[in-house]
Structures are given as C-alpha cells and as structure tokens.
C-alpha cells in the first residue's frame, strides 16, 4: 500500500536517535506560475514540462530571499526575537510528531529553525558575518533553498514545540516566514497556493460552485428528512438571517464532516435560530495562514466580513475547523474588523461548540444520550484550537467546552493518556497545509504519536471512536489511520454525535407538533 515503511506502534513513547536527512527526499509539488501570480507572488520559470514539472527560481533569487527575510524581520516581532533567542537547550528536540515518526534530525524543531537561523546569522548578525563557522552560520545556496522547501513542508505549524520552549519560540512562525520567503523566489507550494486561488475565484477550497453547493445542501435537507422526518433547513444566502455560519467546505460532502454539518443544522433548528450559509464565504478555512502571508490571509478573511454585511446578519458562527478557528478567534477582528455592525452581546466570532454548549446549558436541546451508546468516545484536541485559540471566556475553555458537548450527548467518554491531549496534544500529521497526497509518506509517519495514544486508549479503555473538531484532522485520520489498522468510520465529528442524540420536536411521540414547526419556517 505504500512505497515506504509504516512505523511500528509502540506501547510506550520512544524517542528515536536522530538520523540526518532520512526525509530529505520528500518535497511537495511546486505551484505553477499562474497560481503564484494569482496570490501576488512572482511567477517562476518552467524548466521541464510534463507530468513531474520542474521550476527554476526567479532571477536574483538570492538577494530577493535575503531582502524578504529582512522585510519579515522588520514586520514580525516574533520572527525577529525567535531568530535570536534560541540557546539550543534541546527541550524541543523530542516534541515534534514528525521527528518522532520519521527520526529525521532536521525534523527536531530547533534543527528545523536552524535551517533558517543559520542563514539569518550569516547575513544579519555580527557573529555570523565574521565568525560563520563558530556560530553555525552558512551562505544561502540553491541547496539550502531545496532543504528549506523540503523541511519547511514537514512542519504542520502545530506549535507543540513552542509549549515546551523556555523562550516560547514558535516554530510555526519560523515555518511561515520560510514559506513566505520561498513563495517570493518562485517556490510556492502547489497544494496551498492552488487552493487559495480557488477560494478567490470560486469561493471555497474545494472549488465547489454556488449551484453545486445549493444542490448538495438540498440533498442534505432531504437526507435529514428521510432520517427523522423533520424539515431541518440548510439555508444558503438567506438575507436577513441572524446568524452566518462559516464552515470548512469539506463539511459539504466529506465524511464524517458532513454529519457534523447536519448536527449544526439540527442545533440551529432546535434553538429556533434564523441562520444561513453564504456562497461567498462558503469556506472557513484560510490557507493564507499556512503560507505565512498576511496579505492573502486578510483577503480571504474579508469575504466573511463582506458576506456578513451583504446578508445583514447579526452574528458569525464558525463550524468545526481547527486552523479556521485560529484565524477566526485570534485574527479575524484584526484582519477584517471592527465588527461594530454585529450584535455585541455574543462573541465575535463564536464557535459552534460554544453555541451548542450555551444551548445545552439553557436546556434548549432535547438529548437522548443512549443514541450514542454503541460508541466509546475519545477526543482529539486539534492543535490550532488547543494551542492557538480559545473558547468561552476563560483560558482552557477550548478543552472543556468540546468535551462538555460530547459528554452531554454521549454516555461513554474517556480521554487519551496525559501528554497527548490538551495543550500537549499531538498533531494529526496532516495540518499546516500538508494534507496533500504528494506528502503521504510524511502524513503516515507523522500520525504515529496520535495513533499510538489512540491504540492505547482502545486497548486500555475500550475506545471505539475518536471525535475531532477540525476538517483537516478528520480528513487526515480517515485516510491515514487505516495504515495502523483502524477503519474510516472510527473518526467522528463532535456535532455528528450531537446530531445522533438530539431529539427534534415532531419526532416520535411529539409528532403532532410538526405543524407548528412548519408554520415557523
């Protein structure tokens, strides 16, 4: 099934000995010139056409790379401080899932940073200019660029290393800076850049046009009706709605994402919310984050503001998506605010888990927990939710609220072992713009720590299913956990569980209420 070795699951975590460069063969496909230019990057030149095309760096790439690095150093305090403050203590060296899964020394967070830091030192510091050998500084060469391209696409920007760093150095920031530099010299990544292009031209990552979106929403309404005989709606572009739901486009048809979407719809239905999706903002994901581009990230975010204004909504709610929630929670107010035209009595934006938790607390949802009795659940904390955003109004709400929702709709829940959850959670192995088939080897190896913890939970606690609130996590798990003996349907959306357990009026004995319900619609 694969032309590489799938790592062996171990009962106890084993920190491997570092092996230099065993993953250096792996690089994602390079973005074509038209996709570079659509994002405001210089178009690269084609060296070799065909199935495996090669591109050459733009003229004057070396100076331009160094200039770009200088520009980023002046624009991002984090990047500047992180380039200086590492003492090479080694605290991060055993924290990265890609290191643990690949054994490649350059996948140790500090070693990854050093790929860039060594060049920073050479061109921007006294010690590196005059004593390069002494401080590990090196010239920027084409080999270095290739190494950057390979290893900065072996980082999922999950920030686990940063939690453990005594100086808070965030490799995600370094990776983003490196990708931004690479894109500026003609080495953008195909998967990320083409997806951003689709968001700009069509409106979502999957390139799902408005008509197809409307069709699939109608199909979902029919599915729900066939299932529970309640006319739950999934409105699109409904002007005057109170709530705009922005959700990852995978929710429109991928499994198990779509079951989550039906869950949101049922919660909205049960709370009597007047809500809508938007064809303009038919994507919560924001890959501008992954490539470290403030400009693209903002341009993508603006669609949400514009959709909210056009539809005249009062609230914005985000569906289950990890990095989208980072951009939503941490950046949206900066990128696309101020949101003075929205109802200030609700968080802007609000997470669907926060919304559902509130509804549960207010007793608005009629829940039959036994509907999920065929499962023993555990919960995967998605890195961008766990370490880069929050929920509720206190630190750590992002851990409690999804768990509270799960426990409110399921009888059987257990956490995976400490050190693999909460802010120490392991990445699914496919985050940060790496969810592409050309990086399958990395994805299979990078899932190792999560797969080990899940396997232990299965053995020790009889766990049967793992819930997640991230579209990328769900896609990665369903595709890659089968390499470790799991089946696709063992991965569920949190709101899929809600969907299973929620009892809507007009169901069963309350059937006679259905007329009233229709009248409200």
């Amino acid at each position: 099934m694969a032309d590489f070795e799938v790592p062996e699951l171990k009962e106890y975590p084993v920190v491997p000995m570092p092996k230099d460069g065993v993953m250096s063969h792996l690089s994602p496909f390079v973005a074509k010139p038209e996709f570079q230019e659509a994002l405001g990057y210089p178009g690269n030149k084609v060296q070799k056409e065909g199935e495996d095309p090669k591109y050459i760096l733009i003229d004057g790439w070396k100076e331009k790379a160094i200039d770009k690095m200088g520009d980023l150093l002046d624009r991002y305090r984090g990047f500047r401080v992180f380039m200086d403050s590492c003492v090479k203590c080694g605290a991060c060296t055993d924290k990265c899932h890609y290191y643990l899964g690949t054994n490649d020394a350059k996948n140790m967070p500090v070693a990854r940073q050093d790929l860039l830091r060594s060049v920073y030192r050479r061109y921007f510091t006294f010690a590196g200019k005059y004593f390069p050998k002494l401080v590990g500084a090196r010239d920027l060469t084409e080999d270095v660029v290739d190494e950057w391209y390979s290893y900065f696409h072996q980082c999922s920007e999950c920030r686990r290393c940063s939690v453990f760093c005594p100086y808070g150095i965030d490799t995600a920031e370094v990776t983003m800076a490196a990708r931004e530099i690479l894109a500026h010299i003609g080495k953008g990544q195909k998967y990320d850049n083409e997806i951003i292009g689709k968001v700009f031209t069509i409106g979502n990552n999957l390139g799902l046009p408005e008509r197809a979106l409307a069709d699939s929403l109608e199909g979902l309404e029919e599915d729900i009706f066939d299932d529970i005989e309640v006319p739950v709606k999934l409105p699109l572009d409904k002007k005057g709605a109170d709530i705009l739901l922005v959700t990852p486009s995978a929710d429109f048809f991928a499994e198990p994402h779509v079951d989550g979407l039906m869950g949101y719809a049922k919660v909205f239905h049960a709370t009597g919310a007047n809500w809508t999706l938007s064809s303009k903002a038919s994507e919560a994901a924001n890959f501008g984050l992954f490539i470290g581009s403030y400009e693209n990230m903002q341009r993508i975010s603006m669609r949400i503001r514009e959709a909210a204004l056009e539809l005249g909504v009062k609230r914005i709610v985000y569906g289950e998506c990890g990095h989208a929630w980072r951009v939503g929670y941490s950046f949206l107010n900066t990128l696309a605010g101020p949101f003075d035209f929205l109802d200030q009595s609700y968080p802007i934006p609000q997470h669907i888990c926060e919304y559902t938790k509130d509804a549960l607390d207010q007793g608005l949802l009629n829940i039959d927990k036994s509907a999920n009795d065929d499962m023993v659940l555990t919960f995967h904390d998605s890195c961008n939710v766990a370490r880069a955003s929050g929920m509720g109004n206190y630190p750590g709400g992002q851990f409690d609220i999804p768990r509270a929702v799960i426990k409110a709709v399921c009888n059987n829940f257990v956490d995976m072992e400490p050190g693999t959850t909460h802010d120490a959670t392991f990445c699914c192995g496919g985050g940060g713009g790496l969810l592409t088939d050309d990086l399958m080897e990395l994805r299979v190896k990078g899932i190792l720590p999560r797969a080990s913890a899940l396997t232990n939970a299965v053995k020790e606690n009889g766990v049967t299913h793992m819930a997640a609130i991230c579209a990328i996590c769900k896609s990665q798990f369903t595709k890659v956990l089968p390499y470790y003996g799991f089946t696709m349907d063992q991965i569920v959306s949190v709101h899929q569980l809600v969907s299973n357990a929620i009892v809507l009026e007009s169901q069963g004995e309350e059937d006679n209420d259905s007329d009233d319900d229709d009248a409200e619609e």
Partner: protein, 258 residues
Amino acid sequence: MSTLIAVLLSLATIVMIVGLARKARQYRATPAPLKIPVTPAPKTTGGVVLRLAKEVIFFASLFRSNKWTWLFGWMFHVGLALAFIRHLRYVIDPDGMLGFMWPLISLEVVQSFGKYAGFAMVIGLLGLFARRILVARVRYISAPSDYLMLLLIMFIGFSGLMMSFVSHVDIVGVKTFMLGILNLDLQELPESAPLMIHLSLVALLGFILPVSKLLHIPGVFYAPTRNQVDNPREKRHLSPWAAKYDATRGSDKNAAAQ
C-alpha cells in the same frame, strides 16, 4: 596590566549595556501584527506578568519539557544570580550613591549564599555541557559556540571559586580597584593570576553577550507567544503596518450597497 583590565572591563560594560539596550529597542520597535499567544494564555495583563515571572524565575516550560535540562539549567542560573548579588560588594561604596544597598549586600547570609552558589553554578554548567556531548539530539544541534559559551562561563566560575577557596585574593584591593574604575580614578589591581583570568573572561563575556544567543535574556520578555494577552475577540489588535491594510481594503461600501 591594571590599566588594560580596567579598560577592558569598562568597554565590555558599555558594549554590553548599549548592545542589550539596542536589541531591546529593536524588539520593541518591531510590530507584532497578530495575536499569537500560545494558549491557554492569560486574559489579563496581570496574568501575563505572572506567566512571564513563572518562566523567568522557575523556568516553568522547561520544567515541563525536560527535568535534567531544567535541573542543570536552573542550578546554573540561580547560582549565577546569587554569585552576582554577592559580587555587588565590589562596586558598592557604603558611603556612595548605591550605599543604601550595602546593609543588604553585606549580610552574612547573602555573602555565604553567593559564595557556595558558585558550586551550584559550575555543577549546573558541567551538567549542561555533559548533556550537550552525551545526548545525541542535543549534540546534533550544537555549534562550536554553544560549547565555548559553556566553557567560558565555567572558567569564570572556576577562577572565582579558586579565589574563594584556594588562592585567596586581597579583596579590599579588588574593591579599591573597582571603585577606582567607577570614580575614574584608576587604582592598582592586586597581583593574582586567577583574578586576571576571572576579570578578562568576564570582560569577554560582556563583549559577546549582545551578539550571541545570550540574547535570550531580553528575548524571553519579548516573545509574543508568551507576553500577549489572550483577548483578540474582546479587543481589536492592530499594529501600525497592519493598519494600512484596513485603509486599502475599502470593499465595505460596495458590499453594503448591494
């Protein structure tokens, strides 16, 4: 020789202070356009102060990460801090401007703690050095300067301990010399090889500090991942260069008009 040492120490002090100040100013002047605290993060400024204090005083994240590195690193830094406080006696004139500190610095407990802290410091450094050689992961990420830096501080510690416990130095003479530098009235330094070595290495450390990884000293305070308040939804965060995108986006009008 006294003059040379005096000049070196003075220059090193100036280079260190100016260099660190310039770096701190550079960090401050560089915008942090986005809210990137590693969460869960405090929601108030007071909480951030507490978070940073835990990092600076107890090395909280390092403790979570690796107990051996924490143990040696913390021993070294606390030893250094105590030894540093003990050394203030050489530059504080009881009748001078900083004289108000004298009763504290001259306390027996402060002085003896500082004396034995030298051992903690050197043991910590030896531990860190051993880790750097013995742990393959740490060895891989080490540059020559990483070893040399440990050796430099270790030799400062050795030479200091030598003077405390083996080959005593005329400390009254040392104090006269140091106050002489401060008062721009140069005095003779007592003859002592360990003292020469000690002071030369300290001067070297001062020169190196602002151009080396010792920039983790200001860096720890300026990491946005640790010093930002986690309130992006409550309060709009906007840095000057990011603000220009606000002005240029201008699509609200079109949107609202539709």
